[in-house]
């Protein structure tokens, strides 16, 4: 069977699943096939209130990548904030810059902490090289402003997610742009914010994550001073691994 024959079969299996476990299995199979026609079905699976199916669907959508971005962005307006959080996780995993405005908006204003958390994470996983070079700096400034704001979110987990993104942004800045005029400023704003959080954040888990971020940024700066033999390729910009929550 080739893909065009396989898709309807796998999609039907998801639609006809009559138990929680069967649904998880069917979504996992559909996700593993990585077929573009399955995007609507995978997106629907984000709203079934079944964490196993949603995790599998997120993985599948990330694997499909750019073709899933537009439908996901349309879903964000959905009334179902559970599905919205999963959709944002998928967008964060894909890292497509078309999601920028949605991520900024959700990170700053969404009432649901799981949505803000996923959006905060997504701001750190954008693929900067998709932007025209002259735009990178202004967008990074925008993202940095948003991250500094949500580093003060009342929920520890949103601040934690913001720290992970401050870390990736600090590491992306030297790699992505060659405009030295404002970069030291951006980098030092991140450094200062992290240090301030280490000194004052009420949550031990967040402070621990800050320390880890500082170590990673320092390691990277060390490499800048003693550059490796190879030139850093765009493709090597680290995209965080999305853990598959499977039994």
């Amino acid at each position: 069977m080739n893909n065009s024959d396989l898709a309807p079969v796998l999609i039907r299996a998801v639609e006809e699943a009559d138990s929680s476990d069967r649904l998880v299995d069917a979504v996992q199979e559909l996700a593993a096939a990585g077929i573009e026609e399955s995007v609507p079905t995978l997106i629907a699976a984000l709203g079934y209130n079944n964490p196993g199916a949603a995790v599998a669907a997120v993985d599948g959508l990330i694997a499909i990548g750019e073709a899933a971005v537009s439908p996901l962005l349309e879903l964000i307006d959905d009334y179902n904030y559970g599905a919205r959080a999963w959709a944002l996780r998928a967008l964060a995993g894909i890292g497509d810059v078309r999601a920028l405005d949605t991520l900024l908006e959700a990170a700053k204003t969404d009432f649901s902490l799981s949505v803000r958390r996923a959006a905060a994470r997504g701001l750190g996983t954008l693929r900067w090289h998709q932007l025209p070079p002259e735009k990178v700096e202004s967008v990074q400034t925008q993202v940095l402003e948003a991250l500094l704001l949500i580093s003060q979110d009342p929920e520890w987990v949103v601040r934690y997610a913001a720290v992970t993104s401050l870390e990736t942004l600090a590491i992306a800045i030297p790699a992505a742009v060659n405009n030295a005029a404002t970069l030291p400023d951006q980098a030092s704003r991140i450094t200062n914010q992290l240090q301030q959080m280490l000194d004052t954040d009420a949550d031990l888990g967040v402070r621990t994550r800050v320390k880890f971020a500082q170590e990673k940024i320092q390691q990277q700066q060390h490499q800048e001073v003693f550059p490796p033999k190879r030139k850093l390729q765009e493709t090597e910009v680290e995209v965080p691994h999305r853990g598959g929550g499977r039994r």
């Binding site: 998880v24 964490p51 196993g52 904030y81 559970g82 996780r89 964060a92 009432f111 649901s112 902490l113 799981s114 958390r117 996923a118 905060a120 994470r121 009342p154 929920e155 520890w156 987990v157 934690y160 997610a161 992970t164 031990l204 888990g205 621990t208 994550r209 320390k211 880890f212 170590e215 965080p240 691994h241 999305r242 853990g243 598959g244 929550g245 499977r246 039994r247």
Partner: protein, 281 residues
Amino acid sequence: MNSSPQKFEDLSATGDNTDGGSLTVEQAIANLESADLGLRFYAAWWLGRFRIGKPAAVTKLIAALEDEADRTPEGGYPLRRNAGRALGKLGDRQAVLPLIACLDCSDFYVREAAAQSLEMLGDPVCIPALIKLLVVGLQGEQLVSHQPDLSQPYEAILEALGTLKATEVIPLVKPFLEHPIELVQYAAARAMYQLTQEPAYGERLVKALAGERLQLRRAVLADLGAIGYLPAADAIAQTLAENSLKLISLKGLLEHQVNHITPSTLSEGAIKVINLMDSLL
């Protein structure tokens, strides 16, 4: 951690900011003495939710532990329950003795709230009173014969005794590992781990993560986070439950790691947990 709705208030997957904007601190404290029982009940919850540890709040909440005005048809004391829960969150030791007195209250939920809050306040002076309540469920070294015995909030009592490191109660906790209610079994396993540090009890909880019922898996996530059992990290990340709850559980593991090392370096275990947490955001 039990699974009553109140316990989930800070960790439900939807645990979104309840907007307390409509109430000021002064208003909430004043509302504790309002003629409107609904306002009093809400104010007691609100002061706990937003951790308003002002002396005036603590004093009035302690007074509310003896409230007689707010009664349910069954004879329960709603305001006392909320005041008891709030006092645990405010961390003021003045509440310890009044909460110990609540362990004798006729209302099960007031006793439960008192045990949970005494656990949070962490003062070992309450241990004898908790033991007195625990042995209600025992005949010698065995559970009482009429089961399931739901007469006392055993889950909250066991968890408190574990957290308070009351090692003298190990023989009394053990029988509860066989309790017919799973949540009580988990509370006993959690306490036994805290009291003995034996991995077998942690593993028992890990095994429960693969259970059929989401409600129980959620409770086990909270238990593992509370005891900081590092070998559970991967199982926590992979269990079928909301990411919010997995993240809270893993944070418990992480903080446990950090508490046990010099502040200058992150242990291998801490880094492992951080990477798992990052993958769940």
